[in-house]
């Protein structure tokens, strides 16, 4: 915990009885919250509880219906996001919102570029970008296009952009959802430093551990209402979870599956230039295989090559002993290999289309006869999935754009599971999903295994990998640097391998 903030510190941000309604959804109801100078204030709640909406109201994206927002004691009248920016309110949104065709440096200083004689001064721009990124201690070429970066690095650029504006109030919406342990810890250090310089920080996360590492106080939202606010030192994870979901919740990983069957998938020496090299492994029926490693270690690239989205340069893949010739995602879906992408907005969702349309998109064949789709069957199947996954939406006709991040993620999972795949490759399957729903997802993955499906899970969250997987492959700079079985796995061992510690640790 940080130095306890002084009792009398003036609030930088204060919300008084703020309510916000969307058509058919009460997103915020009578919410009051104070963020003091030097304070890191955590905000937690189930998917759809209203966390992101709260940030958007403060950030000038949505006007509040009723209630007051005060910054440094003065009532804010926010017309547009620009007004909020001018007052020093910076937000790191839940979804990455960088311009993929601009460079890292251009993104960080977008709209605020250093100029010389009215022209953008590139040298100065790049120098300052390096300066802003320095504390993250990651290798990011400031000159490269953002579109080429991995999701984790994009997230870092996004955070850096918010910090570059020397904010008065910094709001971060699940900033660590694509970061692994090292980056997360570094970010925590950076945020503490910022807070001690007197600014206010509002921090949304689904990871309880981060709250206890970082925050001074925590506010819990449920169904748009504030149900708890306490100094972190006076509460514990159990209490937070209970007030989040309104009941006791046992947070345990599902027990390892009974019997793991024979070989399902065999990958031999697949290689893609400047992404990964000589990757070989097997996946058995009923097994959950974890991919661990640092950001940029090539895990996502391997998965996307298996799925046929990226082209591999060498190597072979066998399904049930037969060599697969997969040229595009269509082929791999036809052979029963499904992939849940990490970047749900860019690669997964049709934001402008409805929940049903999104749900059936990968499975049109199932809902059609003689090439004609049956609206009733699609609606029925989708309504079933919405129930089963407890996707919070006013109707299945709602545009997916208006779903909260975690609910979008659940929808993507529902879509893939409806395919009844033989192999499921899930890239960060619980990204942005709340604590309760997370263990439901884990149980669901385990149940799939019991039906003989082989599952590959890519996760930056070590506890998730350790708790869920039967076997873990650790990647380092595009190669498999080791394999660890469930029983032998520890965080230390995996980190050792992930940072290039060599030597295969296979003890069973």
């Amino acid at each position: 915990m940080t130095m306890g903030i002084t009792e009398g510190a003036e609030p930088i941000l204060e919300l008084r009885h703020v309510s916000k309604k969307f058509p058919a959804v009460r997103a915020l109801e009578d919410v009051s919250i104070q963020v003091k100078g030097g304070e890191i204030h955590a905000l937690i709640g189930e998917n759809g509880a209203g966390k992101s909406t709260l940030m958007k109201v403060v950030g000038g994206i949505h006007p509040a219906d009723t209630g007051e927002i005060l910054l440094d004691g003065e009532v804010l009248r926010l017309g547009t996001p620009l007004d909020a920016l001018r007052l020093g309110i910076r937000t790191v949104h839940q979804e990455i919102s960088l311009a993929p065709n601009l460079t890292v440096a251009e993104n960080i200083f977008a709209g605020n570029e250093p100029t010389r004689y009215g022209l953008i001064d590139r040298r100065e721009l790049n120098r300052r970008a390096l300066e802003v990124l320095e504390p993250f201690k990651v290798k990011i070429p400031v000159n490269s296009r953002v579109g080429l970066l991995s999701t984790g690095l994009k997230q870092i650029v996004e955070i850096a952009r918010a910090m570059a504006g020397s904010p008065r109030l910094l709001m971060l919406d699940e900033p660590t959802s694509s970061l692994e342990r090292h980056e997360t810890e570094r970010l925590i250090g950076i945020l503490r430093g910022l807070a001690s310089s007197g600014i206010g920080i509002l921090y949304v996360t689904h990871k309880l551990k981060e709250i206890f590492q970082l925050a001074d106080r925590v506010t819990v939202l449920r169904d748009g209402r504030r149900v708890m606010v306490k100094p972190v030192s006076e509460t514990h994870p159990g209490e937070i979870v209970r007030s989040m979901v309104g009941r006791e919740l046992e947070r345990i990983y599902p027990p390892a599956g009974g019997d793991i069957g024979g070989e399902l998938l065999r990958v031999e020496g697949i290689t893609k230039d400047s992404a990964f090299e000589d990757v070989s492994f097997t996946l058995r029926r009923g097994e959950i295989l974890g991919f661990s490693g640092l950001i940029g270690a090539g895990r996502t690239e391997v998965a996307q090559s298996l799925f046929g989205y990226l082209r591999k340069d060498a190597g072979a893949v066998y399904l049930n002993g037969e060599r697969l010739d997969i040229r595009c995602p269509t082929d791999s879906l036809n052979s029963g290999i499904a992939y849940l992408p990490e970047e749900r907005k860019a690669l997964g969702l049709y934001l402008g289309m409805s929940v049903v349309d999104n749900f059936v998109s990968a499975n049109l064949r199932k809902y059609s006869r003689l090439g004609i789709l049956s609206g009733r069957e699609m609606d029925g199947a989708c309504a079933g999935a919405v129930d089963m996954f407890r996707i919070r939406t006013p109707s299945i006709r709602q545009h997916v754009r208006f779903l909260s991040g975690g609910n979008q993620q659940k929808l993507l999972l529902a879509r893939l599971l409806a395919l009844k795949p033989r192999i499921l490759i899930a890239d960060e399957p619980t990204r942005g999903i709340d604590v309760g729903a997370k263990s439901e997802v884990h149980t669901m993955l385990r149940r799939l295994c019991d039906e003989g499906v082989g599952v590959i899970v890519i996760s930056s969250e070590l506890p998730e990998v350790l708790g869920l997987c039967d076997r873990i492959l650790v990647f380092h700079e595009g190669r498999i640097s080791g394999e660890v079985s469930r029983r032998a796995a520890t965080e230390e061992k995996i980190m050792h391998l992930a940072t290039g510690g060599g030597l295969s640790v296979e003890e069973t």
């Binding site: 058509p23 949505h62 006007p63 995602p329 269509t330 791999s332 998109s361 990968a362 064949r365």
Partner: protein
């Protein structure tokens, strides 16, 4: 109250067809009231026949263009394809080729143009606007080369009958172009709503990468939309040469912009993923009716373009507005 308004607005935005239909009815009523009673010329069967025949060729292209635009594409080459399709069909018939064979040849020219457009756009990755702009110029040029700038005439009467009327029970007479238009629009609208293959067009336009991840063969769908516009444009060319009893290299000049406007008025978005055939057709009908009404009222004929342009911008702006934007706009006005 606020809630009801909000719901109504949502409903109207979701069902663009209703709105256009409403505007259409209003337009018709006002044209009737402008000249009511005995001398009214607007609300006569004869006049509506004229309107329908006038839009019948554009309507075929509108159907194809709707597909292209929903898939996130664009096609400027429709007008030129119309000309070349009609010319190839006409030349062959004049040379003595059987009528059905010549028609199939004409349609094939359209398909070929579509395939080339589609391949360049998907496989080489040239922007659709540029690709089809080039296509529009080249195809128009080809049409001029083939005809040496003199129209193809002397078409066989068994062919030109297609531009005439269909007789039913000996007393109902409906022009063939209208019959074809109605059939094509209805079938296409149904298929686009319900067929599995065409549903993919929405996904491709909605988010191309997500469509790939959903296992949709994106390039194939894209190319298909260009082939459909090509074929339908050629069909439009064949029908219009049957009606005009000649095929000329300047046929369909400027059609592309009319067609695109109609599709957009009908609710499609140039960023893809939204739109319906029925909406686009109603958009075309709306423009056709207003132009016709203004002609009857002897408004300066050049006003036509001014009005069409205004409908376009109004329709699109109405789409973009929501309550929060209105509020903001209002605040900005006051400050």
């Amino acid at each position: 109250m606020k809630d009801i308004l909000e719901r109504l607005q949502k409903l109207l935005q979701a069902h663009r067809e209703f709105v256009i239909f409403g505007v259409l009815v209003l337009g018709c009523i006002s044209f009737y009231l402008a000249q009511p009673g005995e001398q009214n010329h607007f609300m006569t069967i004869g006049n509506w026949r004229v309107i329908a025949v006038n839009i019948s060729t554009d309507a075929l292209m509108v159907v194809g263009m709707t597909l292209v635009i929903i898939a996130g594409g664009f096609d400027l080459s429709v007008g030129s394809t119309l000309a070349l399709g009609g010319i190839v069909c006409g030349k062959l018939m004049v040379a003595g080729v059987a009528v059905p064979v010549a028609m199939v040849a004409g349609l094939s020219v359209g398909a070929l143009i579509g395939i080339v457009n589609g391949l360049i756009i998907t496989k080489i990755g040239v922007n659709p606007l540029i690709t089809t702009l080039a296509g529009m110029i080249i195809v128009r040029g080809l049409a001029q080369v083939v005809t040496q700038a003199s129209p193809v005439t002397g078409l066989p009467s068994s062919f030109t009958a297609l531009g005439g009327d269909m007789e039913l029970f000996g007393w109902v007479r409906i022009p063939w172009p209208i019959v074809l238009m109605v059939v094509v629009v209805l079938v296409a609208d149904f298929l686009l709503r319900r067929s599995r293959f065409l549903r993919q067009v929405y996904y491709v336009g909605g988010n191309e990468e997500a469509a790939r991840f959903s296992g949709i063969r994106v390039d194939r769908v894209r190319i298909f939309t260009y082939v459909m516009t090509g074929v339908l444009s050629a069909l439009a060319g064949i029908m219009s040469s049957a009606r005009l009893i000649s095929a000329s290299a300047s046929a369909g000049d400027g059609a592309e912009l009319r067609v695109i406007s109609a599709v957009v008025i009908g609710g499609a978005s140039l960023s893809g993923g939204v739109g319906t055939v029925l909406g686009a057709f109603l958009g075309l009908l709306l423009v056709g009716v207003i132009e016709n009404g203004m002609e009857i009222m002897r408004v300066n004929i050049y006003m036509k373009n001014v009005v069409t342009g205004m409908i376009l911008i109004l329709a699109v702006s109405a789409d973009r507005l929501d309550r929060e934007k209105l509020k903001r706009f209002w605040r900005w006005l006051r400050s």
